[in-house]
């Protein structure tokens, strides 16, 4: 896809997304709100997996920590202040990612995959086994945060449409932010680390610091998604930190094609969309989901975003013969 076509695709997609609330169907608005949240989550992981070459299998931890922070920092029967809660929750996720990153980034390859999983499991058990966040039952976020600044309230998260646009705006912001980061010298170093870390080191870059920066940033942005999830559903359980969630978000990234921010968004939509469709067909939807995943790995190694190129190649190949 050339730059112009890609820009047109993005603008059309954005326009379609912006029109969703006009349908007036609150079911779809909520469903797509969730997809947008997952898209932020998937983009944050793509920064690690697709651009830095760090396969984290514990990314749900930062999502969950921010979601819990949103619920725990909010007053019990009153609305919290969005402009304090959001940075607070994201800050906690970033802090957790920074501290965990200090340890896990000492390992490489398969060890990295497993150690990130181990730390995520520890975080899972903190919420599952201790009464901090209501144990295995989880905890409610009773009243959605208020966006009021002084006496002025720009929008109301209790309103599904306002909430939808708020999430959509954040998704676009996260996309633009990550794109900018990846064009910066910092981002170029990350991509360099992915292709050849030894070479980056021999060029004098302290790659550990760059990876730690990427890990922390990804944790923070995963936290943005976790915070929005808590606000959207008003309910947080330890399952948000479980390794199944880490697996699902990894799947979204791969589904869309790694190292491609738009791909991560497409992957998140495809994953949640498939789940929705399969769930409406049968209670054994995981069987179909599993089958699709297996087939996808076997037959479509580059993910969904490689489809246009594959089709084009197939067509051209056909003409040449």
């Amino acid at each position: 896809m050339n730059a112009q076509a890609s820009l047109i695709f993005k603008l059309v997609a954005l326009a379609v997304l912006a029109c969703v609330p006009l349908s007036g169907e609150s079911f779809y608005v909520e469903m797509i709100s969730k997809m947008l949240v997952m898209a932020i989550f998937a983009m944050s992981l793509d920064l690690l997996v697709g651009f830095t070459g760090l396969v984290s299998f514990g990314h749900a931890a930062y999502f969950g920590i921010a979601a819990y922070a949103a619920a725990l920092l909010s007053p019990k029967y009153d609305a919290g202040n969005l402009w304090l809660l959001l940075p607070g929750a994201v800050g906690l996720s970033a802090l957790a990612a920074f501290v965990i990153g200090l340890f896990v980034l000492r390992t490489k390859g398969i060890y990295f995959i497993m150690v990130t999983l181990a730390f995520a499991q520890m975080a899972y058990f903190v919420f599952h086994d201790t009464p901090v966040g209501g144990g295995s039952d989880g905890i409610y976020l009773n009243v959605k945060p208020s966006a009021a600044i002084g006496g002025w309230e720009p929008f109301d998260l209790g309103n599904g449409t306002h909430q939808y646009y708020f999430i959509l705006a954040l998704m676009v912001l996260v996309y633009l932010f990550l794109r900018r980061v990846l064009q910066s010298p910092f981002g170029r170093v990350l991509v360099g680390i992915k292709s050849n870390e030894h070479r980056m080191q021999s060029m004098g870059y302290l790659t550990y610091r760059y990876k730690l920066g990427a890990f922390t940033l990804a944790g923070a942005l995963g936290g943005v998604a976790g915070f929005l999830y808590a606000v959207l559903f008003g309910f947080v359980t330890p399952e948000l930190l479980s390794w199944h969630e880490s697996g699902n978000v990894l799947l979204m990234v791969i589904l869309g094609g790694m190292g491609n921010l738009v791909g991560a968004v497409v992957g998140a939509f495809a994953f949640e969309g498939m789940r929705g469709v399969f769930e409406s067909w049968t209670e054994h939807w995981q069987l179909l989901m599993g089958g699709v995943i297996v087939a996808l790995v076997l037959f479509l190694p580059g993910g969904l975003s490689s489809l246009p190129a594959r089709i084009r190649r197939a067509l051209q190949g056909g003409e040449a013969k």
């Binding site: 497993m114 150690v115 058990f125 086994d129 995981q286 069987l287 989901m289 790995v297």
Partner: protein
């Protein structure tokens, strides 16, 4: 903690650790030799437990169920290797993680379709259904001792196969250098199939042995999977003996953690892993 409690917990820890070794040994072999991360390995444990339940109901004897179940598991392993895993050798770890993650979903749903989502018990064979008296008031079930004994025998057998037989030699060679082994005229694909089937059978056997103790329940595979991965990583990927040491460490840490520090018992195993990896980032015994 008095001495009898200590003794009982020690026996429990040993038994748990040895059982985990059966699962982890297959996982570490498949990773070390074939370079495949198999998330579906826990499913084989689950499948073994359900096989034990179904076959015990049908034949009336757990022993018979195990005798029938092991060849089935071997065949199933060889079939899966042929159908799916043989396509994964040249793919990167991420795709392996994905495919096997998809397999977990498939296996769990098939289990739900075929056997349902209920928790089932499996009877202990009559001749092992007894207890040994340790003190005036405390006893220890014979079945658990028997499980430990079976695991020890298997560990020794595995040692002999790997260190003392021609097949073992080829497996170790495949672990070190695939290309060289092929150049020597050994059919490496056959070795892979054998190793994979062996791993599946070991995990399934662990599930069958565990069925009477833990009962048979949905998602029993994923608990074991994560713990087995921890063991493999602590022990050093590809090292069977590292897996044995690590399995025992995890068995003791988990069992005594539950007794001594019940509040954080869920986390202890992962803490142990984190500490070990900070001390030796490639596991206790490196591959080899």
């Amino acid at each position: 903690m008095d001495f009898a409690t200590f003794l009982i917990q020690t026996l429990n820890a040993l038994q748990y650790g040895l059982l985990l070794f059966l699962v982890a040994s297959g996982l570490t072999l498949v990773f070390g030799i074939m370079g495949i991360i198999n998330l579906a390995h826990g499913s084989f444990y689950m499948i073994g437990a359900y096989l034990a339940f179904v076959l015990t109901s049908a034949t009336g004897s757990l022993v018979l169920a195990i005798v029938l179940g092991i060849p089935l598991a071997l065949l199933f392993g060889a079939f899966l290797e042929w159908l799916l895993f043989s396509h994964l050798y040249k793919r990167d770890h991420l795709e392996q993680v994905l495919l096997t993650y998809g397999l977990i979903l498939v296996f769990e749903e098939l289990r739900s379709l075929l056997v349902g989502n209920d928790v089932h018990g499996v009877n202990i064979p009559a001749f092992l259904d007894a207890s040994i008296r340790l003190t005036e008031v405390m006893t220890y079930p014979v079945y658990r001792l028997a499980v430990s004994a079976v695991c020890v025998v298997l560990a020794v057998a595995l040692y002999f196969v790997i260190q003392r037989t021609r097949l073992g030699m080829m497996i170790r060679a495949g672990n070190d250098d695939r290309t060289m082994v092929e150049a020597l005229g050994i059919n490496i694909n056959m070795i892979y199939r054998v190793v994979f089937a062996l791993g599946v059978a070991l995990a399934a056997l662990a599930g069958m042995l565990a069925a009477p103790m833990s009962s048979v329940f949905p998602n029993m595979g994923s608990q074991v999977l994560i713990i087995s991965f921890v063991i493999v990583v602590i022990g050093g990927i590809g090292s069977v003996w590292g897996a044995l040491v690590a399995a025992l460490i995890v068995g003791f840490a988990d069992t005594f953690g539950k007794v001594l520090l019940p509040e954080i018992s869920g986390m202890i195993v992962y803490l142990v892993m984190a500490v070990v990896l900070l001390w030796r980032p490639e596991g206790i015994l490196k591959k080899g």
